[in-house]
Amino acid sequence: MTDMMLKVEDLHARYGAVEVLRGLDFEVPDGNVVVILGANGAGKTTTLRALCNMCTTTGTVTMEGDDISRAKTADIVRRGVAHVPQGRGTFPELSVMDNLKIGAYTRKDNEVGADVDRWFEIFPRLEERRDQLAGSLSGGEQQMLAVARALMCRPRLLLLDEPSLGLAPLIIEDLFERFAQLNKETGLTMLLVEQNANLALDMADYGYVIESGEIALHGPADQLKNDPAVQEAYLGA
């Protein structure tokens, strides 16, 4: 049994009077890729926001044994949780370089420059455009920037919110290949929220399906992939 990077128990979240998450329980083992599948409005994005304490929540979130359910967002970032938001959330009027520096905002060490170079090696396109405003990059480049920016805080847990959104199939495929490699080479733990079930389940170790704020189904990724319910709902089989 691997150590638990993240353990979530009875997670509820609400926006005003609307309860969006109604008691989620899930686990993200250290070094694994876990995917959360769900239709629009199921609560996928809210789950990630709830983990970072960016909305009103109740329940327990434990990271490596410590309760972080009441921690401030900034402290959660300091613990090594990086969030790549849906729609990428790059800063359009900041240069690529400044975007990356914001990713390292909580870091106090002097190796930020070295890390920038590392990610530039993986995403060479970003280096070419280091002084360009992020808003002038293409969608695929912006997604790379969003991921590189998240990696700048040297996370141990990467939260990816629908990275495939609005990208061409070929780019998505390549992006997921990179995620898988990142996980394999560095042991980076990932929690991925997706609608693109096929690719996500190929890459993931374990999967959860949420419907209306509750876990409807979960299991090892290859098992989920063959589950008739999942196939019907997400794989179009």
Partner: protein, 459 residues
């Protein structure tokens, strides 16, 4: 629905050009070789290996301080810093441009539009320098004082620019901070008998403190709603100020007893006095611009701009939204307060009557006119207003033109000229007049106005 609580993506040029061609080129960037690159992934143990890498590649700072103009007019900066390794080292003026191209690796790639500046920048810099030197020599005592007031106005506009252009918080109430700075400095210099230097700083600091308080609503409200709240503040200010006579002088205003006089070697004529005050004000404005530039480029300044672009994402990376927004508003109010404090050095009288809420709107409009998110834009906004008022005043005085003369008389009215400027220039330069100085005409491609619009609609 509730699932999509992230700010919806703003209109970005990249979003609508997902053409097959673009995809292919993006794909190329993803393509192998990654194996070698992946091997270099950091984790906490391997990253420490190359500290020298970190220092060797100190990234070049994005530089929108107004290209060559900055160097020519103020010479506050030395040679360009951070030219990428191997990039050509050139004389300061063209450094920015060359640096951009060098780092992009070729002329075919687009560099940040802000970094490019055309020959107009040089013309502007020369004109500004000539005016700054020649103006006092050619001015009467009164003209010199009026022109110094114009110079000081840059501070207030820059204040609006910090809140709105860099902080993304629309403020239609900055006239209030100018007034508070003036009252505060007057109170300090007269009632507390403090020296001028201390009084001016106190006035500015007091405005900054009020600004921090006013910044609190900005934590909850954004866009057009924040604009209304600040406008409301500007509207209640006048009646409020009338009720605190010890501070504001009440309905009739307060005269300032203390006078800032130059040392005797500077001269004792009234013109020399005016020149002395002009030099001081100019120095303060220059210093404030330089400080602003440095703050914008610093870590908190970067956070400020990140919050403007996407506050949720900034928070995710650990930026404290409360601290960032409140301090941005405080800094911006401090500059406006500084303008007010210097104002009473020039004219030893201040009254709530000088600060109707329309003044705040004019400050905002001037900042937008010149260019939000650019320090030189604020200078340009003030300059263009004054230049056109002067031209209008001149044309309006021409006589003997019959019906045309009647029409031209309209131009004598400052408000008319300003209104026409606003309407016309918003169409031509949605990103502000500073766009004129960029060679690549970015306002056609990517306008701040588009962002502002999408942001305010969202909230």
């Amino acid at each position: 629905m509730s699932d999509d609580n992230w700010p919806s993506p703003m209109p970005r040029p990249g979003d609508d050009d997902e053409t097959p061609g673009a995809d292919a080129s993006v794909f190329a960037a993803f393509a192998p070789p990654h194996d070698a690159a992946i091997a270099a992934l950091p984790d906490d143990t391997t990253a420490a290996e190359s500290p020298e890498e970190a220092t060797a590649t100190a990234p070049p700072e994005d530089d929108d301080f107004g290209p060559e103009l900055a160097e020519a007019a103020l010479s506050v900066r030395s040679a360009p810093q951070g030219v990428p390794a191997g990039g050509p080292q050139t004389a300061s003026g063209v450094g920015n441009r060359v640096r951009g191209l060098a780092s992009a690796g070729g002329a075919d790639r687009v560099v940040s539009p802000r970094r490019r500046s055309g020959p107009l920048s040089w013309i502007g810099a020369v004109l500004l320098a000539v005016w700054l030197v020649a103006m006092p020599l050619a001015s009467s005592v009164t003209e010199l004082r009026q022109n110094t007031q114009i110079v000081v106005m840059v501070l207030a506009v820059l204040g609006v620019n910090i809140a709105t252009g860099y902080g993304g918080m629309i403020s239609l109430g900055h006239g209030v901070f100018v007034a508070v700075g003036a009252f505060g400095a007057a109170y300090a210099v007269d009632d507390l008998a403090l020296p001028w230097v201390v009084s001016i700083i106190a006035g500015a600091a007091f405005a900054g403190a009020i600004g921090a308080l006013v910044g609190l609503p900005a934590l909850r409200i954004k866009g057009i709603h924040l604009a209304l709240v600040t406008l409301g503040l500007a509207i209640v200010f006048q009646p409020l100020a009338k009720r605190v006579p010890t501070f504001s002088g009440g309905v009739s205003g307060r005269a300032v007893g203390a006078e800032l006089v130059p040392p005797s070697w500077f001269g004792t004529t009234r013109w020399a006095e005016g020149l002395y005050r002009y030099v001081i004000c100019l120095a303060v404005v220059g210093l404030a611009m330089w400080l602003t530039h440095n703050i914008i480029k610093s870590r908190p300044g970067r956070a400020m701009r990140a919050v403007r672009d996407n506050d949720t994402a900034a928070a995710v990376y650990g930026v404290n939204l409360v601290a960032s927004r409140v301090s941005t508003f405080a800094a911006s109010a401090t500059l406006a307060g500084l303008a007010g404090a210097l104002g009473i050095v020039l004219v030893p009288f201040t009254s709530q009557e000088s600060y109707p809420f329309q003044e705040s709107l004019v400050l905002y409009a001037t900042a937008v006119l010149g260019g939000l998110g650019s320090i030189w834009g604020s200078v340009l906004g003030v300059a263009i207003r004054e230049v056109f008022s002067a031209i209008g005043g001149f044309l309006g005085d021409v006589s003997g033109l019959g019906p045309l003369g009647e029409f031209l008389r309209l131009l004598d009215e400052e408000q008319f000229v300003f209104g026409v400027l606003l309407v016309a220039l918003t169409f031509v330069f949605p990103r502000g007049l500073i766009g004129m100085f960029n060679r690549s005409k970015p306002w056609l491609r990517y306008g701040w106005s588009r962002i502002a619009e999408s942001k305010s609609l969202q909230n």
